[in-house]
């Protein structure tokens, strides 16, 4: 019988965003997105939790070196931390930067970097927008 071995690393970043669908009228945007549609955006302290799955290497005792995971996450978050996501991050030029979409984009970016380590697979991305709201994202 197999055992599941998971490692989760957390990292905080701060970003601002605005919910706005350019295909809709101003009235519809305000109706759907409410105060999140404000013209100048607003900010959050996001908390990202990245969970990886793998076998524990007999020599190192690790699934992945935490320093390696930390640097992967820090590199990816450079384009998110202290940025206005709609304006500064190319992934949200045509994508509303909701927590769901940010989690999806982060999954892709982190998975691409983790591909260099075949022993360790991305298992789940959990993104807290505030302490009482989070999104889980994984690929089935």
């Amino acid at each position: 019988m197999g055992f599941k071995k998971l490692l989760t690393k957390k990292m905080e970043f701060s970003a601002s965003h605005r919910y706005w669908n350019p295909k809709w009228s101003e009235e519809k945007n305000i109706e759907v997105f409410g105060k999140s549609a404000g013209p100048y955006g607003h900010g959050h302290n996001y908390n990202l939790e990245v969970t990886v799955q793998g076998e524990v290497d007999a020599e190192t005792g690790m699934i992945i070196n935490l320093y390696e995971l930390k640097s992967v996450m820090a590199e990816v978050l450079e384009d998110f931390d202290h940025k206005h996501l709609n304006e500064d991050n190319p992934h949200f030029k045509h994508l509303v930067p909701t927590t769901e979409n940010i989690a999806r984009v982060l999954w892709d970016l982190i998975e691409e970097k983790l591909h260099e380590n075949p022993e360790c697979a991305l298992y789940r991305v959990r993104l807290y927008e505030t302490h009482d709201l989070y999104v889980d994202y994984w690929r089935e």
Partner: protein, 112 residues
């Protein structure tokens, strides 16, 4: 490879162990598992590690690196002997920013 973790004099963490138990509610006690009994099981196991230099004072960690992954496995095996099928999930927090999980595949209903 191990960076600051390879300091010859070691380093410490305040670990937290979380175990999840599952089972039927005993109709007499209304409990799955008596918390005092659970404390009585986990206390001595944690005492084996608490305030110890793991890689020097415990034979298990002379042979296995004292990583979070291996400490989680060590704890799972020890607690499993006492709790049996009731134990379904173990989580070991190393810092407020990282934690490890260990459980049997197919036997934990809250995957992800």
């Amino acid at each position: 490879m191990f960076d600051t973790c390879s300091n010859p004099n070691g380093h410490g963490h305040d670990y937290y162990v979380h175990v999840k138990v599952s089972g039927d509610i005993n109709p007499e006690t209304g409990m799955i598992c008596d918390i005092e009994e659970l404390d009585g099981i986990m206390g001595p196991i944690i005492d084996e590690l608490d305030y110890k230099r793991l890689d020097l004072e415990l034979p298990y960690f002379e042979e296995n690196q004292a990583t979070g992954e291996n400490i989680a496995k060590f704890l799972w095996q020890k607690i499993k002997l006492k709790l049996g099928d009731k134990l379904i999930h173990l989580k070991l927090s190393e810092t407020s920013k990282s934690y490890f999980e260990y459980y049997e595949e197919g036997n934990y209903p809250y995957e992800r």
